[in-house]
């Protein structure tokens, strides 16, 4: 079998066509080939959430998502969140609530929170906690992150 496959995907609104190694994860292609280094590599087994990107608007762990599966898909990384130098509402809420410390978990959390805002529905406190539970943060103790997400969902 051929070990390379040609894929086309839209990342942050821009078309990319490239040959990927079938062994590569989406994380590896985004970081190493396309240089979207806001996608962080943490545990590599889908537990920490640092590598979270949106695939067709849904948060997934790009470390356990094969690059070939991204063919034809619309991907959003943290680089695609701010528009024309303006922070998004989610990013601004993270700043305002002081929800960022070392920053390693932040791109993933901002993307998950962005996906939540795009559902257009209301979330209870318990639901917010559940929806951000796929992200590990070793700095903040989560309270400020929770406050930021709650704030943006209630705006």
């Amino acid at each position: 079998m051929d070990n390379y496959e040609k894929i086309s995907m839209v990342v942050n609104g821009k078309n990319y066509s490239l040959e990927v190694d079938i062994r590569e994860s989406l994380l590896e292609v985004l970081r190493n080939r396309l240089h979207f280094t806001g996608v962080k590599q943490g545990c590599s087994v889908g537990e920490c959430g640092a590598c979270t990107v949106l695939v067709e608007g849904l948060p997934v762990n790009s470390c356990i998502y094969l690059a070939v599966w991204a063919n034809g898909k619309r991907i959003t990384t943290i680089e695609g969140i701010s528009k024309a130098g303006e922070l998004s509402r989610v990013q601004q809420a993270f700043v305002d609530e002081g929800a960022v410390q070392c920053g390693f978990c932040t791109p993933g959390l901002v993307l998950t929170a962005t996906a939540l805002t795009q559902t257009g529905r209301k979330y209870t406190d318990e639901e917010i906690k559940r929806e951000i539970s796929g992200h590990l943060c070793r700095c903040t103790g989560y309270n400020k992150i929770f406050n930021a997400v709650k704030r943006v969902l209630n705006e």
Binding site: I22, S44, G46, L66, T112, S133, H135
Partner: protein, 293 residues
């Protein structure tokens, strides 16, 4: 990089069966949240994959004319959790689906993969046991349907024949109509954790008495199990606190709990007794009954 030597991505089930028949070494991959992690750990090496992701319609959830609910094997746990059909008719499965991993995992992991990897801790399996689910399997020889209880062969082992694909999970109307139920997952963390014990109950009551009780346990034996003795005891009994406590004690008899680093045998048996009580009590409340304390 993963230790993958090839990947086939057919866009029809027929083509997938053909590829599997011609190359029995192909490893089926669905959501990938288990297979890829096993590869990362070195438990799987030099793997040729058969991805089911490009086959349309394999994630459909629908009610058939005879009332049977069909859940496509590729339906993700997020899709199951959000499905109006599941929430209306199989609420316990929705409860189990949202207890799996975390949100990102639920957007990828499929119910078919959860069953086929044979994990005794599979959050979906316990509830499917309690709903008397059947599995639709397709091979070159045709289609067969087996009760989920007969599918589990041992830890990590299922009775999936070579070149066979699980296409859908079927829940007959008799399995869910007019039932109440509850799923309790007991784990150290509330998210991103594997069950120390999973308890799923589905029941029917009439005039304050149990007319049908189904109790399924995960991580209480090498495979998910039903507690037949406890179920038989419960029929015709009042939905009282004492009776439900006794049902919990009966449920322990079906288990073959063992010591593991996650929990001791003694603790697991204690959990079975207490959690079966709590789950059944909650099921009675949801059925419109009183909180019997």
């Amino acid at each position: 990089m993963y230790d993958i030597v090839g990947i086939e991505s057919p866009d029809t089930l027929e083509a997938a069966i053909e590829m599997l028949s011609n190359n029995p070494n192909l490893k089926i991959i669905a959501g990938g949240t288990d297979v890829l992690v096993q590869m990362r750990n070195g438990a799987l090496e030099e793997i040729a994959l058969l991805s089911l992701r490009n086959i349309p319609g394999m994630a459909d959830i629908r009610i058939m004319d005879n009332g049977t609910i069909s859940i496509g094997a590729m339906a993700t746990f997020a899709e199951i959790f959000r499905s109006s059909i599941i929430n209306e008719h199989l609420p316990v499965l929705s409860e189990a689906a949202v207890s799996v991993g975390g949100p990102q995992i639920r957007n990828m992991a499929t119910i078919g993969g959860n069953i086929c990897n044979g994990a005794v801790s599979a959050d979906s399996a316990t509830t499917l046991f309690a709903y008397n689910a059947e599995l639709k399997l397709l091979s070159r020889e045709g289609e067969r349907t087996v009760p989920i209880e007969e599918f589990y062969a041992g830890p990590g082992k299922v009775n999936l024949q070579p070149a066979e694909i699980l296409t859908a999970i079927l829940i007959p109307e008799t399995g869910y109509r007019k039932t109440s139920g509850c799923y309790i997952k007991h784990s150290t963390r509330k998210a991103m954790d594997i069950a120390m014990l999973g308890v799923s109950v589905v029941c029917k009551t009439a005039g304050g008495k149990f007319t049908d009780v189904r109790i399924a346990l995960g991580v209480a034996a090498p495979v998910p199990i039903r507690c037949r003795e406890a179920e038989a005891y419960a029929i015709g009994k009042e939905t009282s606190s004492e009776i439900i406590r006794e049902i919990g004690r009966y449920a322990v008899r079906a288990s073959r709990a063992r010591d593991s680093w996650r929990a001791s045998k003694a603790y697991r048996e204690h959990l079975i007794e207490v959690l079966v009580f709590r789950a059944l009590k909650e099921a009675v409340i949801r059925d419109g009954g009183e909180d019997i304390g």
